[in-house]
Structures are given as C-alpha cells and as structure tokens.
C-alpha cells in the first residue's frame, strides 16, 4: 500500500514536472514579442522593455530559462503578475479557497445526485425509471453549464429573488455550486449507471442472490461496495473536469476563484500569471487524483493488500 502511494505520488510529481516544462515553452510559442504584448501599457521605452526582458530572463537560451524557472518554482516563487505585479503564488493561494469551496460542494452535489440517480437507473434497468433518469442525465450532459447557470440565475435571483447573484459568502455559493454540481452530476449518473450495470452482471452478485440474501443486502453490501471502486476511481478525472468547469462557472457567477483569475490573465495576456495558473492547476489536479487513487485503493482489497 505504501508502495502504491509512493508510486502515485511519483506519478503526480512527473505530471507537475512536465507541467513546468510546458509552461516554460508556452511563452516561446507566442507569436510576436511577449514582453511587448504584456507591457504594452503606456510610456515604456525600448530600454525599459529590454530591462524587463532581462528581468524575466527572456534574453537567455530556453534551457537556461527553464532551469531558472524550475529553480524559482522549487523555492515557491512563481514570479510576479504583469498586471499589478503581485506575486503569482500569493494571488493564486488567495483565490484558491473560493475555487476549492465551489468544486468541493459541487462534487458533493454531483456525487449525491448523480450517484443516486445512476444507481437506481442501473437497479431499475430497462424500466420507465431508468429511462426517465437517463433522459434527465443526457439532457444534463448536453446542457451548457453556463446556460444552466444563467437559467438558475434568472429563476432564483432575478425572478424569485431567493438567492444573491454574485459575490462571496455561502449563500452566494449555492447557485454556482448547484450549477456545476448538477452538470457534473449528470455525467456521474451515466458513469455510475454503467459501472453498476457491470457490477450487477457480475457472477458474485448472482452468487449473493443464490444465497437467498435479501435484495437490499445484495444491493448495498455486495453490489454497491464493489461498485464504489470503479466509481471512486473515475472521480479523479471528474474532479479535474470540475476544476475546469469552475473556470467558466466562476465567470458566470462572479465567484472569485482562480478560474476567474485565469480568464482575466488570458485576456490581459499576463503570461507569468497564466504560467502560474497552469502549473497550479496541474498540481492541484495531480494531488487530488493521488488522494482519490488512495481512497479507491483503500476500498479495493486487491490493491490494499497489494497483489
């Protein structure tokens, strides 16, 4: 098990390491002069631009830039943003709790709603219930989540006036979390259904039935507990998608997380901030997937007892 965790952690480190290479290359792929583009404010002279280039190390060969960047990253220094010249890491950390609150609450909604829907659709496979649940799920999957967000906003904030429209605080979290949670829940419902159908078709479920166990016992003890393994293992990816989805949703609801920061950075072509964001995002996703991998390893004795 320890070996498993070490392996997963190592893989996560590789991911993060490749991310550092990718973000270093990013700035070199920009057509034109990134410094010009970034520092286009007003009244910068050629000499100043050259000075900035030097300060950012852009006058160095790429490999050296990479090692300079890596060295700084290892010291927790992701550089300074162009707009406002704040330390990128500070900015990201300042904004991350909001994103985390959004994604975690959305994940909870998604798992509760989607998992339940998928489980019962699989259980009642082929019935009207299944059809209804899956119709709901595919409509949910097909709906652009920013549109769902707008509809919820229109309904709950504009028309009914029940919930606030933006800003921070838990009441403001409800709508964005609901939007993101329902959209992801639809995906999870579909995944859960097919995972549970696979489980229901397994021999051991038949064995449990053949033992004459009550249906609920078969369902929860044998099927659901086995089904949790594949379901939890796919949550890693779902979390990554949630983080991605949060970028858009944060913009719809003016939820002040890293996603909104990212979009502002792209608009402003604030490359240090974009680089930092990608690296940060990759790190979070990699670490979360380690956590989720370890969780499902705990659920699955085949991994827990290392075979």
């Amino acid at each position: 098990m320890l070996r498993f965790i070490a392996q997963r952690l190592f893989a996560a480190l590789i991911t993060i390491w490749i991310a550092t290479i990718a973000v270093t290359l990013l700035i070199h792929l920009v057509p034109g002069d990134p410094v010009r583009i970034m520092y286009a404010g007003f009244q910068t002279t050629e000499a100043e631009i050259e000075a900035i280039r030097q300060r950012l190390g852009l006058d160095q060969p790429v490999w050296r830039q990479y090692f300079m960047y890596l060295g700084r990253v290892l010291q927790g220094d992701l550089g300074h943003s162009i707009v406002g010249s704040q330390p990128v890491l500070d900015t990201l950390l300042q904004r991350f709790p909001a994103t985390l609150a959004l994604t975690v609450s959305a994940l909870i909604i998604a798992v509760v709603v989607g998992g339940t829907l998928g489980f019962f659709a699989a259980y009642r496979r082929g019935t009207v219930w299944d059809f209804g649940a899956m119709t709901l799920a595919i409509v949910g999957v097909s709906m652009p989540h920013f549109w769902l967000g707008l509809l919820l906003l229109f309904l709950f904030s504009m028309t009914l006036g029940w919930l606030p429209v933006g800003g921070s605080g838990w009441r403001n979290l409800i709508l964005p979390a609901l939007t993101l949670g329902l959209a992801t829940g639809a995906v999870i419902a579909r995944l859960t259904r097919s995972a549970m159908i696979d489980i229901f078709d397994q021999d051991f479920v038949r064995t449990a039935h053949a033992k004459g166990l009550p249906k609920t016992l078969v369902l929860y003890r044998h099927a659901l507990r086995s089904g949790l393994v594949p379901i939890v293992s796919m949550l890693g990816l779902q979390f990554a998608y949630l983080m991605g989805g949060a970028i858009v949703i944060e913009n719809v609801f003016a939820w002040n997380g890293v996603g909104r920061l990212a979009i502002q950075a792209v608009f402003a072509r604030d490359y240090p901030l974009i680089q930092g964001f990608i690296l940060f995002f990759a790190t979070v996703v990699a670490l979360v997937s380690v956590i989720i991998d370890v969780t499902y390893a705990l659920l699955d004795p085949r991994i827990r007892y290392g075979t």
Binding site: A210, K211, S226
Partner: protein
C-alpha cells in the same frame, strides 16, 4: 417421505424469440446426483437458473412449466418465498470461482451472512459454523482464511469456499453449474472428490450441469442429455454410456476422446492410406528462457515471473510434438517463442537449421512462411473486419506467392481443402460457427505452404463433436502434407489422439519428454503420473481411486536425463 425431491415438468424458457429451453421435464431424488449434460447452447444452465429465479429478469421469460419442490411450485413463488428456499434449501455453485465471490468482502463475511440471514444465528455461532465448514472442505488454517479476501486464494481454494458456503446450510439440493470447467485437471479431481465427500456426509441431492462426459461418468447416478433446449434422453448413467438410445447421445459419446484408447499404437490414427512418416528435423529449440518483467514502475522492476526455463525440443516433418501442462506451465509461451511472437531472453531456435533469433525483422517476415500458427480462440483469431477470402489470401499476398485470379483460385482451393465452400470467400468471420472458423484459420495457415504449424489449444474452445472433426482434419493434413505440428494442449486425451511425442511442462520447465506411448502409458515423472490420474474417465464402470496427494516440494524439477531411448525425465 418418498417420491422425488424436485419435479420439473414441461419447463420452457425464452430469450426474446429464442426458445432456450423447450418442455424440459425431469425429477431429482434425495441424495442422488443427476447430471444434465449438453453442448453449448443446449439450455442446460438456463434451466437450472430458472429454478432459483436467477434468470436475467428483463431478457428471459419462463413461458411454461412447473418445478415442484416440497409441494410448492418454485416458478410461481413470490420473491420472498423464493429467497427462503434459495441458499437455504437449494444452494448453487458456479463455473467461475474467480468471479463468483465478492471481491471487496472478506471470506468470513461471505460465509456467515447466509447463516445469519436464514438461520438467525448469532455472529459468533455463524463464525463457528463457517470455520467448521472451511475445515470440512479441507482448507488449511481456517481462521486466517476467514479474514482473507477472495483474490488472495487460488481458483481451487475459492471453489472450496463456494462449496463450504453452499453446504453450510445443509441444503437438500446443490446445483453445481460446470463447477470444475475453469479448473486445471488436478484441481478438478480434488473438487470432484470433495463434492462426493460432502454429498456422502449430508445426503444432498446434486444437480450437476456439465459438458464433460468424463465428469458425468465420475459423478452422476442418472443423466439427462440436452440438445438445443430439448431433452433427448434420460437414464441411469451406465445405460446412457453403454446403450445410448438417442443418436445424438451416441455421436456425442463417440466424439469424446478417451485417454488410453490408443495406448497400443505408436502414432496417431491413420486417416489416409499412406500417411507421411516423421522425417527430417524441422524445428529445433534449446535452452529457451523467458522471464516476464514484473509490473514496471519507474523505481525499477519487481522480480518477474519465470515463464520458461531451459526449454528445448525438436519436431520432425510429419510429426506431432505435444506440449501438455496446466495453466501457467509455460506451454503457450513456448509455442509463441518458437514463432518469435515474443522475444526470449536466451536460447536457440532453429527452423530447418536456420537460426531464427539471428534474423533481421525483414528476413524474419520472409522466414515466417515456413511456420504458421493456429490459435485457441477461433472467434478472436480472425480479424472481424476483413473478409474471409482476403484473410486467407493475405499471407500469400505478403509473400508474393500469387496474385489476381490465381490468388482467388488458391483461396477457393484452400477453402475446399478444409471442407468449406469457395463462395464463403466474401463473408466475414462472424457469419461462421466456431468449428468453421477454426477451419478457416487452418486454411490461412496452410496458404503459404508451411513446414511447421504451432497449434495452441486449437480445439479447447469447441464442443466435443466439433473438436473431433477439427482434430481429424489436422491429422489428415499432416499425413498428406508431412506437416510438423507443435501441438499445445491441456487435454491428455486429445494429446493421446494427436501426438507422436509428448513433452509435459510444469512451472516453465519440461519435466518429462518422450514418445507418446512411454510418457502416457508409463510415466516416469510423478507429476505426469498425477496429471494422468486426475483425468476423469468417460466410463462409469471405471473405478476411481482417491488421488495420491503430490508433495509439491519433492517433485523433481531439475535438468532432463535420458532414462530410456528418447525419453527424458527431470531429476
């Protein structure tokens, strides 16, 4: 109470428009073993699943019939009543021990839950009972087993657990659905022994579902033979074997290879008048070693598993060398290594004197003309998206043997050669039956005129009647064309039919190799002996002894020594 324990009358089950079971009737008496035997698709499993209400609810439909158990119709019971019977009065064990236990639950819990459910036993009492059952099925260290998960047990151990689980409630009927099909032959023998023991102890009636006439002969008191959903014959086991009334039963029995049937002969049965005799050495392999890497990680490799250690043999033209062994013995690895479908770590492979391992990948492609392979699963061995004609033509195209209409002619000729119609050329693999597909595979292998054919369990996925036909085709081809066969199989009876010489493999090594008569009739290695003793004999008259327990530590696994001319045994 006298009279049958279970009376099934006129049972019919339909899957959509397909009638899977059609008017099946039989009865089962207390304490007896009734075997329901049939080939795939005969409806034997479906009929027994129907009894316990375990059929897939949406697709299957019981159209008529009744199954009377203790005066109640099992087929018309409520879910609740059914549950009281299931596991309690009628228990069931399944074919796949690897997947029949819930992977995330401990053995202990899976053993005790039915006891607490049906008997209302306390956890403690259930645990005691479970431990007792584990002891009964001869599992070592029961308290530890209780805490283990299924994946920590071997297939045979799991099937023992399944039996313990099924018998814990001392049911009146045990339905065993192909209980040993997935097991190696030595393990099969142990499990069959165990089932007989258990039956004797509890007086349980067993409904045994199987396709294996050997198992039937060993276990059954009475037999029901099924074919295409219908019962074709029913009777005491001896009658069925000795005086089958239905043609189908007779042909089924005729197709079953019997170990020892050809013990008097030197070579396989001649199919043609002047069969080719073994000639020059076509393939010579020596010192082949292969170690599969452990799970690769970036930290390094965990020590791998040895698949092949110092394996060597030669095959002559017109000769069949059979590689036999249980799963994991390295016999398939050896076959694939010879064809260079996998790279070996060390050793020498020579085809007609040419060192295969020294060839560049380009010349290897050319050299492959001389050797072809026939695979176990004919369903997977044909590319599903290429027509049969093109598949058979492909090797000829690659090797530049023929083109255009000549190619078509050759394909047509090959199809005829293996007993198929030339106008099958345009069809795709899924339009053929298993036996036909294997013929197509053989035609394809033959197309380039190879010297050597490696046949990896070519009939184990086929029903016995089809198996007999395919084996005959292979024999006929060898005898007319002087082909060398490296014939890989786990089935000793099939090996006896096909082989000139036999090599027995265990744990990646050859433990005994020699002429078929020597090895099969007078084995010199204890493992060969055990293997042979474990094979169920399709003869109800044969008396079966308890298997000798092999002391695995004392099996000699050293290098081969020639104990008789051409007969080598591991020391």
């Amino acid at each position: 109470m006298s009279g049958p324990l279970l009376k099934v009358r006129d049972l019919s089950v339909a899957f959509g428009p397909v009638q899977a079971v059609d008017g099946l009737s039989y009865h089962l008496h207390a304490g007896e073993t009734l075997a329901i035997v049939g080939e795939s698709g005969s409806g034997k499993s479906v009929s027994s699943m129907a009894l316990l209400g375990l059929l897939p609810q949406r697709s299957a439909r019981i159209t008529q019939g009744e199954a009377i158990f203790e005066g109640q119709n099992l087929l018309r019971m409520s879910e609740r009543e059914q549950r009281r019977i299931r596991g309690n009065r009628i228990a069931m064990i399944f074919q796949e021990p690897m997947t029949s236990l819930t992977p995330v639950l401990r053995i202990g819990q899976q053993l005790t839950e039915a006891l607490t459910e049906h008997r209302g036993l306390s956890q403690r009492a259930a645990r005691d009972k479970a431990l007792e059952m584990l002891r009964l099925v001869d599992l070592s260290d029961p308290p530890r087993r209780m805490l283990q998960f299924p994946h920590e047990l071997s297939g045979g151990m799991r099937q023992r657990v399944m039996i313990a689980m099924a018998m814990a409630l001392e049911p009146d009927i045990l339905i065993a659905d192909e209980p040993t099909t997935a097991l190696d032959v030595t393990v099969q023998a142990e499990i069959l022994d165990l089932m007989r023991d258990v039956q004797a102890r509890f007086g349980t009636a067993i409904l045994l579902i199987t396709h294996d006439m050997g198992v039937v002969a060993e276990m059954a008191d009475r037999v029901v033979v099924m074919h295409r959903g219908k019962k074709v014959e029913e009777g005491p086991v001896k009658t069925i074997f000795n005086n089958p009334r239905a043609d189908y039963t007779a042909s089924l029995l005729a197709a079953v290879p019997r170990l020892g049937a050809r013990s008097a002969e030197d070579g396989p049965r001649p199919i043609i008048a002047q069969p080719a005799q073994p000639g020059e050495v076509v393939l010579h392999a020596e010192g082949m070693c292969k170690q599969f890497a452990g799970r690769g990680s970036l930290f390094g490799r965990s020590s791998g598993t040895v698949a092949m250690k110092d394996v060597g043999f030669s095959v002559r033209a017109g000769e069949t060398l059979a590689l036999v062994g249980e799963s994991g013995s390295g016999k398939s690895t050896s076959g694939r290594a010879v064809l260079r479908l996998l790279e070996i770590d060390s050793g020498r492979i020579a085809l007609e004197g040419e060192d295969m391992r020294a060839l560049s990948s380009r010349s290897l492609r050319k050299a492959r003309r001389a050797m072809q392979m026939v695979f176990q699963d004919p369903f997977a061995a044909l590319n599903p998206r290429i027509s049969i004609g093109r598949l058979i033509a492909e090797p000829m195209l690659i090797h530049g043997i023929a083109q255009g209409s000549e190619l078509d002619d050759r394909v047509a000729a090959l199809l005829r050669r293996v007993g198929l119609e030339p106008d099958h050329m345009k069809r795709f693999a899924h339009e053929f039956s298993g036996g036909q597909r294997q013929r197509i595979c053989i035609a394809r292998a033959l197309s380039v005129g190879p010297k050597l054919i490696v046949a990896d369990e070519p009939t184990s996925a086929l029903d016995v009647s089809v198996q007999a036909q395919v084996l005959e085709l292979m024999l006929e081809l060898q005898q007319t064309m002087g082909l060398a066969y490296l014939f890989i199989s786990h089935d000793m009876a099939v090996v006896e039919e096909m082989a000139h010489r036999v090599a027995v493999m265990r744990q990646g090594r050859i433990v005994e190799m020699g002429p078929r008569r020597n090895v099969l009739d007078a084995p010199r290695h204890p493992y060969t002996g055990a293997l042979l003793a474990a094979v169920p004999k399709p003869d109800p008259a044969a008396l079966r002894q308890k298997l000798p327990r092999l002391n695995l530590k004392e099996i000699p696994m050293g290098s081969l020594v020639e104990v008789a001319p051409n007969h080598w045994v591991a020391q």
